[in-house]
C-alpha cells in the first residue's frame, strides 16, 4: 500500500487540451494532485518563419510578419520595419509615427482583453470571456476600417503606413475610448473583488525578480515582480518619448498582480490612444509614408537590432543583410518563448488547477513561442 501511495502519475496535458490556448504540450508528473515536475514541449506550431525570410524579398516577407503573433501583429511589423528602416537610414514621417503608435496601443488593448477572457475561462468562469471578446470586437472593427483586415493587417510599409486614417475613424476611436470604461466595469465588477477569484490568484505562481531575470522574462510578467523595464521608456522608439505615460509596476509577482497590471496597462494604453488621436485630428495634412519603391528595397549590408515593447514583453528583431534584395538572416526574439520556459519552475508544488491559472496569467501565445 505504501508503495502504491507513493506512485507518481505522469499526465500529458495537450497538445489538444481545452486550456492550452493552442498547441502546447505539458508533460506533468503528479504526486496526488501536486505537481512535482513539469516539462513543456514546443514546436507544434513551428512555421519556419526565420527560414521563410531567406527566400523572400523584404516586402514579400512583410505580410508574414503579422503572423508571428496573430494577436499582436502590429508590434512585429514595427519590430521588423524599424530594423529595416535603420539599415535603409530613413526616418518615417511624424504622422506615420503617430498612426503606428495609435494602432499598436489599440492592439495592446485588444490583446489584453482576449487574455483576460481566456484567463477567466481557465479559472472556470463561463461568462466573462464573452464580455471581453465583445469589447475586443469593437477594436477589431476599427482595425478593419483602418487596415482592411481584422487580424493580419499588412498595414505598415517601408517608410510609413499604407493609408491615412480618416477623421470619421478617428472619431470612432475617440467614441470607443470614452465608452470603454463604462463597458469594462462589467468585467471589473465581476472579478476584482470576487473572493473565489482572489483565492485562486493571490499568492499563486510567485515570479520573483530573482527568478524572472535569469529566465529573461520581460513585459508585464517582469513588471509584476517589481522591475520597471518597459522598452517604450528604456529605448524609446517612434514618438514614445513625446507622449505622456507611466509604467505601472507591482511587487508581489503573483497571478493577481499580473492581472492587476494588465488592467492598468489597458487604461494607460487607452490614454495613449487618446493622445495620438488628438494629435492626428489636429495634423491632418502631413504625409504618412515616404515615397519608396516597395518592391525594390535594398538595405545596405550590415546588422540591425530593434527593440519593441510588445504586449507580452520584449520583441527583438535581429536583421542581418548582405546588400541583396533578400535578408540574410532574420531572428525573432519572442517573449512567450521564455515565458514557457519559466513554467517548468513555477508549476512545481502547485496543483493542476493552479497550473492552468499560472499558465493563463503568464499570457503565453503559442505561435509566438514556436515562430
Amino acid at each position: 500500500m505504501k508503495e502504491l501511495a507513493r506512485n507518481k502519475m505522469t499526465v500529458n496535458i495537450g497538445p489538444q487540451h481545452p486550456s492550452t490556448h493552442g498547441v502546447l504540450r505539458l508533460s506533468v508528473e503528479l504526486d496526488g494532485e501536486k505537481i512535482t515536475k513539469c516539462t513543456p514541449y514546443l514546436g507544434y506550431l513551428h512555421r519556419g518563419l526565420e527560414k521563410a525570410a531567406q527566400d523572400r524579398l523584404f516586402a514579400q516577407y512583410l505580410p508574414m510578419v503579422d503572423r508571428v503573433d496573430y494577436l499582436a501583429g502590429f508590434f512585429y511589423s514595427q519590430a521588423y520595419l524599424s530594423a529595416v528602416e535603420e539599415l535603409l537610414e530613413i526616418e518615417i514621417p511624424k504622422n506615420a509615427q503617430y498612426i503606428r503608435v495609435l494602432t499598436m496601443e489599440l492592439n495592446r488593448v485588444s490583446s489584453h482583453l482576449l487574455w483576460l477572457g481566456c484567463f477567466l475561462m481557465d479559472l472556470g468562469n463561463q461568462g466573462a470571456v464573452f464580455y471581453a471578446f465583445n469589447l475586443r470586437n469593437e477594436i477589431l472593427n476599427i482595425f478593419e476600417k483602418i487596415t482592411g483586415a481584422r487580424m493580419m493587417h499588412n498595414y505598415y510599409i517601408f517608410g510609413g503606413v499604407r493609408d491615412k486614417i480618416s477623421n470619421n475613424i478617428l472619431n470612432d476611436i475617440l467614441d470607443f475610448t470614452q465608452n470603454f470604461n463604462q463597458k469594462f466595469k462589467v468585467l471589473e465588477n465581476m472579478i476584482t473583488e470576487n473572493p473565489i477569484f482572489l483565492d485562486r490568484t493571490k499568492g499563486l505562481g510567485i515570479l520573483t525578480s530573482e527568478i524572472a531575470l535569469p529566465y529573461a522574462i520581460t513585459g508585464v510578467n517582469l513588471r509584476a515582480s517589481g522591475l520597471s523595464l518597459d522598452f517604450r521608456k528604456e529605448k524609446p522608439y517612434l514618438i514614445y518619448d513625446e507622449l505622456d505615460f507611466t509604467v505601472p509596476t507591482a511587487f508581489e509577482g503573483d497571478c493577481y498582480s499580473r492581472y492587476k497590471l494588465r488592467i492598468d496597462e489597458i487604461k494607460i494604453s487607452l490614454d495613449l490612444v487618446n493622445q495620438c488621436t488628438d494629435w492626428l485630428l489636429s495634423h491632418q495634412e502631413g504625409k504618412v509614408a515616404l515615397e519608396l519603391n516597395q518592391i525594390n528595397i535594398k538595405p545596405k549590408a550590415g546588422k540591425a537590432v530593434s527593440y519593441t515593447e510588445s504586449v507580452r514583453g520584449l520583441v527583438m528583431c535581429h536583421l542581418i543583410t548582405d546588400g541583396s534584395e533578400k535578408p540574410k538572416r532574420v531572428k525573432w526574439r519572442t517573449p512567450s518563448f521564455y515565458a514557457v520556459q519559466v513554467l517548468e519552475k513555477l508549476a512545481i508544488g502547485n496543483t493542476i488547477a493552479d497550473l492552468m491559472a499560472i499558465y493563463g496569467s503568464l499570457d503565453i501565445v503559442l505561435p509566438e513561442a514556436d515562430r
Binding site: 463561463q126 470576487n194 483565492d199
Partner: protein, 368 residues
C-alpha cells in the same frame, strides 16, 4: 413493516383500479390482475417520458439562458426559436458510433452509465407533484430519495476508474471526495427540516408548510441558513459551477466522461440533468412549499387544483434552476482543496447552527 410502507400506495392503486371499474362487477378478476401487473409499467413509462422531456427542455433552457447572460442568442434555428435543437442533438448522440478505449475495464465501463442513470430515474417516483397522485408515497421518502441521489457517485467513480484515462481517474477521485464531504451538510439541513415538521415524508413536509400566510409560511424563513447551506451543497452534489471539479473543462478536459461517447455519454448527460431537476424539486419541496400556492389559496376551482399544484411546483423549480444557470455564467471555479475546506469549515458549522435554531423553534413554538 412493509405493509405499512406501502399503505399509502395501496390507496392510490385501488383508486387506479376504480378508474377502470365504473360498475363494480363489470371487470373480471383476470382483468384486474392484468391491470395490477401493468400498473408499474405504466408508471415507469410515464416517468421516462416526463423525464426525457424535462431533460431536453433543461438542456435547451441552459443554453438559451447562458446565451442570455452573455449577449448571444443561443440555439435559435431548429424548430421555433431552436426548441428542437436538443432533440436533434439527442438523436445525433444516439446514432453516433460508440468509441471506447481498448484498454478499458469492459464490465465496469459498460455498467457505469446505468449505475448513474437508474437510481435517478427511480427517485423520480418519490416526488410529490401534487397532493393527489404520488407514485410511491412511502413513509420515509426523503431518506430513500437522498440515498438514491447519492448512488450516482459510484457510477461516476466506476466510469473514471474503468476508462483507463488519467483525467478520468482524477475526475472520479475528485467527485467521490466532493460527494462525501457535501452530503453531511445536506443531511444536517434536512435533519433540521424534519425536526420542524416531525415527519420524514416529503408530502407531509409540504403539507406542514401550508397556511393562510402563503409564501411567508414556508420553511425558508425560519430555516434561512439551512436553505442557503442546502443550496450550496446541492450545487456541489450536482457538479455545477463553482464546484464543477470532477468535469472541470480547463483542467481535466471532461473529467470522468472523457472516454465516453455516443449513447453512453448521452446517458451520463441525461442523468446529470435529471439529477439537477430532482434536487431542485426536492429543494423546492423542503424550503419553498413544494406544490403550494404562494398566495395561500388556490386560484383554480377544486377539481383542477391538481393541475395548479403541478404548475406551481414546476414554476418554482425552474426559478431555482434559472438561478443555478445564472451562477454558472457568473462565478469562477473553486480550487479542489478549497472546496473541501469550504465544506468542513463553513458549511458544516453553519448547518449545525441551523439545526440548533430548528430545535429552539420547535421547543418554544411547539409542533404544528
Amino acid at each position: 413493516m412493509i405493509n405499512s410502507l406501502i399503505k399509502n400506495n395501496d390507496a392510490v392503486f385501488s383508486a387506479y383500479i376504480k378508474l377502470f371499474n365504473n360498475d363494480d362487477n363489470a371487470i373480471s378478476d383476470i382483468a384486474q390482475t392484468i391491470i395490477a401487473a401493468a400498473y408499474p409499467l405504466i408508471c415507469f413509462i410515464i416517468t421516462i417520458i416526463f423525464a426525457t422531456i424535462m431533460v431536453l427542455l433543461l438542456v435547451y433552457l441552459e443554453r438559451r439562458i447562458l446565451a442570455l447572460f452573455t449577449l448571444r442568442f443561443g440555439p435559435n434555428r431548429v424548430g421555433y426559436e431552436g426548441i428542437l435543437q436538443t432533440f436533434a442533438d439527442a438523436i445525433k448522440l444516439l446514432l453516433k458510433e460508440d468509441c471506447a478505449p481498448k484498454t478499458r475495464k469492459k464490465v465496469f465501463f459498460f455498467m457505469a452509465p446505468f449505475i448513474v442513470l437508474c437510481p435517478v430515474v427511480t427517485a423520480f417516483c418519490l416526488l410529490p407533484f401534487n397532493n393527489f397522485y404520488i407514485q410511491s408515497n412511502i413513509e420515509p421518502s426523503i431518506i430513500l430519495l437522498m440515498a438514491l441521489a447519492s448512488i450516482p457517485v459510484i457510477g461516476v467513480f466506476l466510469a473514471g476508474f474503468s476508462s483507463n484515462n488519467k483525467y478520468g481517474l482524477i475526475g472520479a477521485a475528485r467527485s467521490i471526495i466532493q460527494a462525501v464531504s457535501f452530503e453531511i451538510p445536506i443531511g444536517v439541513s434536512i435533519l433540521a427540516i424534519t425536526f420542524m415538521t416531525g415527519s420524514l415524508n416529503i408530502n407531509d413536509i409540504i403539507q406542514s408548510q401550508s397556511s393562510n400566510l402563503g409564501l411567508f409560511g414556508w420553511h425558508f424563513i425560519p430555516q434561512i441558513i439551512g436553505c442557503i447551506v442546502f443550496f450550496i451543497s446541492a450545487l456541489a452534489l450536482l457538479n455545477r459551477t463553482p464546484f464543477d471539479l470532477s468535469e472541470a473543462e480547463s483542467e481535466l478536459v471532461a473529467g470522468y466522461a472523457t472516454e465516453y461517447s455516443g449513447i453512453k455519454f448521452a446517458l451520463f448527460f441525461f442523468s446529470e440533468y435529471l439529477l439537477l431537476f430532482l434536487i431542485s424539486v426536492l429543494f423546492v419541496c423542503l424550503f419553498f412549499g413544494g406544490y403550494l400556492s404562494p398566495f395561500g389559496t388556490y386560484v383554480l376551482p377544486e377539481s383542477l387544483i391538481f393541475i395548479e399544484q403541478i404548475f406551481w411546483l414546476i414554476l418554482k423549480t425552474f426559478f431555482i434552476i434559472f438561478f443555478i444557470f445564472l451562477i454558472r455564467a457568473a462565478l469562477p471555479r473553486l480550487r479542489y482543496d478549497r472546496v473541501l475546506e469550504f465544506s468542513y469549515k463553513i458549511l458544516l458549522p453553519l448547518s449545525l447552527i441551523n439545526l440548533n435554531i430548528a430545535v429552539l423553534i420547535q421547543y418554544f413554538m411547539g409542533a404544528k
